[in-house]
Symmetry: C2
Amino acid sequence: MTARQAFACTKPVDDLLDPALFKALGDPTRIKLLSCIIKCGRPCSVGEIAACCAVDLSVVSRHLAVLARAGLAESSKSGRTVRYGARHAHLCQTLRALADAVEECVPSRLAACEGGCCGC
Amino acid sequence: MTARQAFACTKPVDDLLDPALFKALGDPTRIKLLSCIIKCGRPCSVGEIAACCAVDLSVVSRHLAVLARAGLAESSKSGRTVRYGARHAHLCQTLRALADAVEECVPSRLAACEGGCCGC
DNA sequence: TGCGTACTTGTGCCATGATGCAAATATAGC
DNA sequence: GCTATATTTGCATCATGGCACAAGTACGCA
């Protein structure tokens, strides 16, 4: 298979390799916050999370919003406080699906496929 | 567990959530190139890969170097041509390890742990 | 209704990074 | 050695994004 053919061939890995998702994971501060709520297990308020690191609370608020928009966290509001919790199950599922999609493309499997598995 | 405790508590997920890795995956053009060499299965030359997309060859060269530096691809030089291939196995392993590390932090497991699993 | 708390949003600044073009480097073939 | 090809690197430009501070919004409470 030529590179051009591979480029044009649509496979599950194309949809799962989402730049928007990885962009959300690409900032050190944001990763620290995500790691924090992942490890905490329960939803935490913005102020509580902000107390953990050096950056301004407004920055934390924005970072958490980004994580939520990327599907990595979810927010729930009760009164004045907004709590963010990690979407453990969704995250695991996404990662494993991507791993499976990549594994589907290992040379040995593609050779067995002989170009007949997809319409490319 | 408070957010501060979770933040301070070191778990496998901390090392596996590597911002540098995700930063490499966070650009649309770079993702297209990575997807291409993942699906192709075999190592492709820079020029061959560059022929697939609209950006300049120099840009492709830089992107592939970034992917290699992040451990997502590997390069091999033979004569004048440099070929880049996806590191399928390494990528799958990394993703699955991360999924496992996240799963280790789901609320039900943390509750069962009762704070005794780690030194935090 | 007024006040304090919790968070979000607006704004300006600065660093990073993606891009194209041109020049440089590496190497094969003559 | 000379030339053509394959790739990398230098450089200028431009867009994006992270940050702090300040202002705004939402809401509980007296």
